[in-house]
């Protein structure tokens, strides 16, 4: 095996560009996934069947079909009748929507995990529904939810290279592009692979630590 540091050096500037795009995708995707997931979770608890049912169906469908195909769908199909978006924007939205169906589950489990007695105590104190959610239920749910959400951020990180396939130049996209031009495959892809592990491992350590911290009141 011949490892060429010169190739690495040549690739590095583009690599850093890719890191930036990966970070943007991750950040944007996380924001969408966290907020949209909460919307799903609340909708799934709705009393109205015609809200609950479609939301359940849609999230179930999105969660059980491949992100890659969803990205293709967003990239190629949506612009036919909707707004046209850059590959990065498409990627961010795709990641966000896909993972929102996972975070919805996380929120749901977190909310269901708050003991029924808490709801009853809130009723007995005559707290309004809004105050009950804001002061009692969500603060308790969040502790269970945060570590699990963190896990999905790491998962999203590892799925983020898919946006390279629709042309967003994240780390993998840059490597692919660079390789196609120079026919140097080993160094760029190895570098990117290591980068993912180097980012993901401390992140999961952090989450495990967080989990322990938040486990108790």
């Amino acid at each position: 095996m011949n490892w060429d540091w010169e190739v690495v050096e040549e690739f590095l500037p583009r690599f850093w560009d890719g890191v930036l795009v990966t970070c943007q995708a991750l950040l944007g995707g996380t924001l969408i996934a966290f907020t949209l997931g909460l919307v799903w979770a609340l909708a799934q608890r709705s009393n109205l069947v015609w809200v609950r049912w479609p939301v359940n169906a849609v999230t179930e469908f999105i969660r059980n079909t491949p992100l890659l195909v969803q990205l293709f769908f967003l990239f190629y199909v949506v612009p036919e009748w909707g707004p046209s978006m850059s590959p990065l924007a498409t990627g961010v939205i795709g990641l966000g929507i896909h993972y929102s169906t996972y975070t919805a589950e996380v929120y749901r489990a977190g909310i269901d995990g708050v003991p029924r007695g808490q709801w009853e105590a809130a009723t007995a104190l005559n707290l309004s529904t809004a105050v009950t959610w804001r002061s009692v239920i969500l603060p308790q749910a969040i502790r269970r939810v945060v570590p699990a959400l963190g896990n999905y951020v790491v998962a999203m990180l590892k799925d983020s290279p898919m946006i390279a396939i629709i042309g967003a130049l994240d780390m993998l996209g840059e490597a692919r592009f660079f390789s196609a031009e120079t026919f140097q495959y080993v160094e760029p892809i190895t570098l990117v692979g290591i980068a993912f592990i180097v980012i993901a491992y401390p992140a999961s350590l952090l989450i495990r630590a967080l989990e322990r911290r938040l486990a108790t009141y």
Binding site: D17, F75, Y76, P79, E80, S84, M85, S86, P87, I165, I166, G167, L169, R176, F177, S179, A180, E181, T182, F183, Y185
Partner: protein
């Protein structure tokens, strides 16, 4: 599963093996009109049609398509996923270091897909620089380098998977122009009234005209096959059959050439 690596025979014995099998696998990138799958799900295109004729004459009856992404053609060839790249791939020095080429079967100018009426009046890479128009091209297309050579910042070029995406991107106003070979562009714009093709133009790199001449690529070890292929190709050229084969795909006399791979591979 391991794929057997290339054998050591001088010049390779691939042709004999292909004859034995009766099939040859050709790599295509799904680019109309060079090599693609048609509505019927069958292999066609300028290069595959030439390949079919030549391999028939070489004693290999069936030509099996292996569609792949353009950027994976050379790695795929080297990885023995297919035996020949039959995608109208441009011959250039970089690629010549990875694979060996037949002599070119066509030469090609570039063109842009632009919005109908070409509102920005784009007709060369220099125009893109001057007008600040947003340019797109396909993954690993040679046009990217031409544009960069003309002064378009590399990071400003949107890389799309293929010309259909390019056509849609232009139609939706995501980019102002999509750069491809004149024939690719001509073919794809025919399907959408919102876009049109510019006049073909000659790209320049460092003042030199960048000649887009496409041929068939083989693994570097398979010189025997390449030479046999070349011989048949020359016969087709001389007899004029070549033009007849490729005419249905929009090629004309203008695209015929006598250049050799050797000239094109020279840095």
């Amino acid at each position: 599963t391991r794929v057997g690596s290339a054998d050591d025979t001088e010049g390779g014995n691939l042709l004999e093996r292909l004859r034995d099998q009766g099939t040859v696998r050709v790599g295509i990138a799904g680019e109309v009109p060079y090599g693609y799958i048609n509505d019927e799900g069958e292999l066609t295109g300028e290069a595959p049609e030439i390949a079919k004729v030549i391999f028939e004459r070489l004693g290999v009856e069936s030509v099996v398509p292996v569609p792949t992404e353009f950027g994976s053609l050379i790695p795929g060839l080297r990885a023995q996923q297919f035996d020949v790249v039959s995608a109208g791939m441009y011959i250039n020095p970089d690629r010549c270091r990875q694979v060996i080429f037949s002599d070119p079967d066509y030469v090609m100018l570039d063109a842009f897909i632009v919005e109908a009426g070409n509102p920005l009046g784009l007709s060369s890479y220099e125009d893109i620089v001057a007008s600040g128009a947003r340019l797109a091209s396909g993954t690993a297309y040679a046009e990217i380098d031409y544009a960069v050579a003309a002064g378009v910042p590399r990071d400003d070029i949107l890389i799309l998977p293929d010309q259909v995406a390019g056509m849609q991107a232009v139609a939706q106003g995501r980019v102002d122009a999509f750069a491809g070979t004149a024939i690719t562009v001509r073919e794809v714009v025919a399907r959408n009234a919102e876009v049109e093709s510019t006049e073909p133009f000659q790209p320049y790199v460092d003042g030199e005209p960048a000649i887009g001449a496409g041929g068939f690529a083989f693994r570097p070890t398979e010189t025997n096959l390449r030479d046999a292929f070349n011989a048949e190709l020359h016969r087709l050229k001389e007899s004029g059959e070549l033009l007849e084969i490729v005419r249905p795909f929009g090629f004309t006399e203008d695209e015929m050439t006598d250049l050799t791979a050797e000239e094109l591979c020279r840095p």
